[in-house]
């Protein structure tokens, strides 16, 4: 046990039990998994990615490269979870990753012995030859050897959601700078959001023994938090990681609502995705403690000096029975001494500098901590750390320690400043990259900005918080910044212990991707020196931590090799997300059946009661067919539905068509310009089929439009294109011809529409109308009647036919849709009226030779579809000029015809390509393709529609329908697309 005797922000009065690799341990509320493991003396927590080296905790935050675990079990198992950010809860179960068979004994750690072959670029070099080896040998071996944790293999049982928040000032990070900024902005009355990835506000103030406003840092945090909580204009968001900065002052964040619990409470989500719209942002994300590259620096027990201190002060956990610190800067030394004060047995501070500030030296002396100046750690030993070798100009010595805190200075955590393309800039005076151009509206405060002394940090936070509020219209009365002593910020730029060769073991640059200083040297020798090449060749910084702690070291080592200095090497920029984001939270509510809205038709419940099988068409749920008990498959049902419609009467809900109401004196003019045919001449009470083109001459949509009154039309569109056509009409009215006086309204939801088709449809209709004359004379083909049905329900009756039979479409206000269906079923009962679905609808239209979605592909012009003769020559319309292009009028262009199999028992399939009989199956010989096929119960064999080169000239010719994907290769006969009633007599009776 290395739990310190007292202290820390943990509730020692309560004990939590947890398991790691099956072994049970105890911790306290306030612990992270990492702090609890360290407090239990567990230093080995994982094996490395490539070499399977033993690894331990190295940080106390989200930048952790090593301590990745599988958290939870079963469906909630989550791989690659950073133990340093997992809040301990009672019953927590975690397992180490990437080890086999066990963490203590890992068979694949022999990878270390072959490490010369696994160095930089090994992927590129090793697996070039022979190709067949890749699949059979290399990949399986690599998959076993490398890789991280295992995802759950059953669906995630938890729920996620998304939310939007708005504020004047978003403050990211709640350390000294963030709290000061939030206080200043909040006091001005601005709406403030303060987000921090930690579960506790305070940042490094939680770990350091400094004095603010005359009290402790913890007192300051508590009073700031209390004040902010009391203000109605402030939202505090702990456990919330702002992971991305986006255009237009939007930020993406994940709130870990329930990650600190074994499972979410009832009705709670696990995580919530926030889109935060912030007029201004103060980024106060602090800095990372920079590692130093030295031999054996990856041994469990070697960690960041600030993390070592945090574990002691905040968590009351010793990282070892005793410890030393290897540092280059005052901040780390002060933190180490804080840890010693908190009870950590700190044997020595080894600093690369010749002397430390007097105050620190005196404090060390008072605490009995030995100071070794001009010292460097040159080697470590033990599976978990047992000793270190220190070199000074005065000689070498070995110190027996279980923990070594290392600090090479501060690397500003500027990740978010890069998300809109901002490039960090080098500041020689602090030997660090600081934010360059930042996203619009963002300011950076505190350590992320390269401001390190506590007094300066508080002043900068206050100033920038007030300025951000003022920019959004909340001029604050200038309030004094919280006061603190200025903390020492001396340092020496030092990245890499040199002159050791391979003695003392590999010196790691990137621990998560197992990149060593030697790999960087190899990249240098082989010419991969530019930062982007270095990164890709060695994989430096390409792990899940994006090289937060390792990039600087890599650049420094390369800079030494090139002799050019760090700014000449450059830096890579960071991209969202700042830390990994679970896919589940990005999906939110929209998974499974809620992936997208399911739109029921007005008769949905009725159809369900009839046992309909439904199909998704776009967002709509439509009846596909209505099976009966004695039918053996769907085709039986569809055949019955088609036959019933052709022989007697069928009924289908067609409410899904887009319906657009057009009113105004210029509707006729508009329609003439958007359809290829004339509509201004359409008589009141009549409907007409129309085709509209895109401006490039290709068909956009088709449908019927009816004239209800002189200045009032109603248009129908295909189900798929309802929104697109409405947008197109608005484009015409607002952009192309704003002088036209036309008012549009979508009435797709207002009207239920049911088609009744078949020779008996008139008799059925006659039974439900309220005195409307539905005789052939009273309501002729393409006629429209308005009145009422079912004793007073407003209705529009269109005599239209999609099936080729006598047919009507009856529209009623949507609430009456189901009642209309029931009335039609009752009225049609004597005729055996048969509800049919979209499958039968498709067969009916293919038998009739109508084009549909399969033909309106966005690649067909009106002429291709046999609709060219509809085009008016008396007017201009959208697409007319471009439809006249030579390519579109080429007689060789595949054109619309029908097909029958020569062997009538053969099955046709859409997608088959046409070839001349005897022609080789080559692209050059391709003559078009089959667009739609169906079994025609009316004709007793398969029929097809398609686009064939010069099709209409080739009636009766036999061609080959070639379908290699499904093994089809049959002869078909070219015929008219109208398989039934080519003269259109049936629909006019």
């Amino acid at each position: 046990m290395t739990r310190l005797a007292h202290g820390g922000l943990i509730d020692r009065g309560r004990t939590l039990s947890f398991a790691f690799d099956g072994k049970t341990f105890k911790g306290h509320p306030g612990d992270t998994l990492a702090s609890a493991l360290l407090a239990n003396g567990v230093r080995l927590v994982g094996r490395s990615f490539k070499y399977h080296r033993p690894r331990g905790v190295v940080t106390a935050g989200s930048e952790e490269p090593n301590a990745l675990v599988e958290l939870r079990t079963g469906a909630r198992r989550e791989p690659n979870t950073r133990a340093t950010t997992v809040e301990l809860y009672d019953g927590l179960e975690a397992a180490s990753q990437n080890r086999w068979p066990s963490l203590e004994f890992d068979a694949l750690s022999v990878n270390r012995l072959v490490s010369p072959f696994l160095g930089a670029g090994f992927y590129y070099k090793t697996f070039m030859w022979p190709a067949a080896f890749w699949e059979k040998v290399y990949e399986p071996v690599i998959r076993r050897a490398a890789g991280l944790g295992r995802a759950a293999d059953t669906p995630d049982p938890d729920h996620y959601e998304k939310a939007t928040a708005f504020c004047d000032v978003l403050v990211i990070g709640s350390g000294a700078a963030g709290l000061a900024a939030a206080l200043a902005a909040a006091r001005s009355g601005a709406r403030v959001i303060l987000a921090d990835e930690d579960f506790r506000l305070g940042g490094r103030l939680l770990s350091e023994r400094t004095v603010i406003n005359g009290g402790s840092a913890l007192d300051f945090v508590a009073s700031a938090q209390a004040e902010l909580s009391s203000l109605p204009n402030v939202r505090l968001m702990p456990r919330t990681t702002v992971f991305g900065a986006y255009d237009g002052s939007e930020y993406g964040a994940v709130e870990r609502v329930s990650d600190h619990l074994p499972a979410p409470l009832p009705f709670q989500v696990r995580q919530r995705l926030w889109r935060i719209v912030a007029k201004r942002c103060v980024l106060a994300a602090g800095a990372f403690d920079r590692p130093i590259v030295f031999p054996g620096n990856d041994r469990p027990g070697v960690m960041s000096a600030l993390a070592l201190a945090t574990y002691a002060t905040r968590y009351g956990a010793g990282a070892g029975a005793n410890a030393a610190v290897f540092s280059t800067n005052d901040h780390a030394v002060a933190a180490a001494l804080d840890a010693a004060e908190a009870g950590l047995k700190l044997d020595a501070v080894i600093d690369v500098r010749p002397a430390l500030p007097d105050a620190l030296a005196a404090r060390a002396k008072a605490l009995g901590v030995r100071l070794i100046t001009e010292g460097e750690v040159v080697a470590t030993s033990g599976k978990c750390l047992t000793s270190i070798t220190v070199r000074t100009p005065r000689g070498s010595e070995t110190l027996a320690v279980e923990a070594l805190g290392v600090s090479g200075g501060a690397t500003p955590n500027l990740n978010l400043t890069c998300h809109l393309g901002g490039k960090p800039v080098w500041r020689e005076d602090i030997a660090a990259f600081v934010p360059g151009a930042v996203p619009p509206g963002m300011a950076v405060a505190g350590a992320v900005a390269g401001t390190f002394g506590l007094a300066d940090i508080l002043a900068e936070g206050t100033r920038l918080g007030a300025a951000a509020a003022s920019d959004t219209g909340f001029a604050a009365a200038p309030a004094p910044a919280p006061q603190a002593e200025s903390t020492p910020t001396g340092f020496k730029a030092f990245f890499h212990v040199k002159g050791q060769g391979t003695k003392g073991g590999p010196a790691f640059v990137d621990q998560q991707n197992d990149v060593t200083a030697k790999d960087v040297a190899l990249a240098h020798r082989e010419g991969f020196r530019a930062v982007e090449l270095l990164k890709r060749y060695t994989t430096l910084g390409m792990a899940t931590d994006q090289g937060k702690t390792s990039n600087m070291a890599g650049l420094a080592v390369m800079a030494e090799l090139t002799g050019k200095g760090i700014p000449a090497i450059g830096t890579t920029v960071f991209r969202p997300p700042y830390t990994p984001v679970a896919l589940g939270v990005l999906a939110g509510h929209h998974r499974g059946v809620d992936f997208k809205p399911a739109r029921p038709t007005p008769t949905h419940a009725w159809a369900q009661a009839q046992g309909a099988v439904f199909v998704e068409t776009g967002l709509w749920m439509r009846a596909a067919y209505f099976p009966k008990a004695d039918e053996k498959d769907w085709l039986d049902s569809v055949n019955r539905e088609v036959k019933a419609t052709r022989e007697s009467v069928g009924v289908i809900d067609v409410s899904t068509f887009g319906k657009i109401d057009l009113q105004g004196p210029d509707v006729g003019v508009l329609l003439d310009r958007v359809y290829i045919n004339m509509f201004s001449t359409l008589a009141v009470g009549k409907a007409r089929y129309g085709v509209m083109l895109r401006e490039d001459g290709l068909v956009m949509d088709d449908g019927t439009t009816a004239r209800l009154a002189d200045d009032h039309y109603v248009m129908t569109t295909t189900t798929a294109n309802a929104a697109k056509v409405y947008q197109h009409l608005e484009f015409c009215l607002q952009v192309l011809w704003p002088e036209l006086d036309v008012c549009l309204a979508s009435v797709s939801e207002q009207w239920a529409q049911i088609a009744v088709s078949g020779p008996r449809s008139r008799e059925v209709l006659a039974k439900i109308v309220d005195g409307i004359d539905v005789s052939n004379a009273g309501l002729p083909f393409m006629g429209v009647a308005q009145g009422s049905v079912m004793g007073g329900v407003q209705a529009r009756i269109f005599r239209l036919s999609f099936s080729g039979e006598l047919g009507y479409e009856i529209a009623v206000p949507a609430r009456h849709g189901a009642a209309l269906m029931q009335a039609l079923m009752a009225a049609g009962a004597p005729f055996g009226i048969t509800p049919y679905g979209v499958e039968a609808l498709g067969v009916l239209r293919i038998e009739k030779g109508h084009v549909s979605g399969n033909e309106l592909t966005g690649q067909t012009c009106a002429r291709d579809l046999g609709l060219g003769k509809m085009a008016s020559t008396k007017k201009d319309y959208i697409g007319r000029v471009m439809a006249g292009r030579p390519a579109f009028t080429d007689p060789d262009r595949p054109s619309f015809v029908g097909f029958k199999p020569v062997d009538r028992s053969a099955r046709l399939r859409a997608g088959a390509h046409f070839l001349k009989v005897g022609a080789a199956a080559t692209t050059q010989n391709d003559e078009g393709y089959m667009t739609s096929t169906a079994f025609s119960p009316t004709l007793g064999h398969y029929i097809g529609l398609g686009l064939l080169k010069r099709g209409p000239e080739r009636m009766g010719e036999k061609v080959r329908a070639y379908d290699p994907v499904r093994g089809g290769d049959i002869e078909v006969e070219v015929c008219s697309p109208a398989f039934i009633d080519p003269q259109g007599e049936k629909q006019r009776v």
């Binding site: 986006y246 237009g248 947008q727 608005e730 292009r885």
Partner: protein, 90 residues
């Protein structure tokens, strides 16, 4: 990204549909060079690095076509107006 619709106010860009360059105007279909002019109108576009007037449709809001001035390098939007004649009202 947010677009401030002159009618609806600031909205998520998800509510809008993008068309493209607002500069091309529909040519005179009866002009002798109509074929060439329409080809240019339909296909030929500049690809400027900098401010550009673009047509966006507020499909999930007021269904107005908008002329949005956006810097293609930064996505910064400096002006939004109703498209067409630019007038607000019908």
């Amino acid at each position: 990204m947010r677009i401030t619709c002159p009618y609806c106010g600031a909205r998520s860009s998800h509510e809008f549909a993008y068309l493209g360059d607002a500069a091309p105007t529909r040519p005179d279909p009866s002009a002798p060079d109509a074929a060439e002019a329409f080809h240019a109108y339909v296909y030929e576009r500049d690809n400027p690095a900098g401010p550009m007037d673009e047509l966006w449709y507020h499909s999930a809001g007021c269904r107005r076509w908008l002329k949005v001035t956006r810097d293609t390098r930064t996505h910064a939007i400096t002006a939004v107006a109703f498209a067409g004649t630019g007038e607000a009202a019908r």
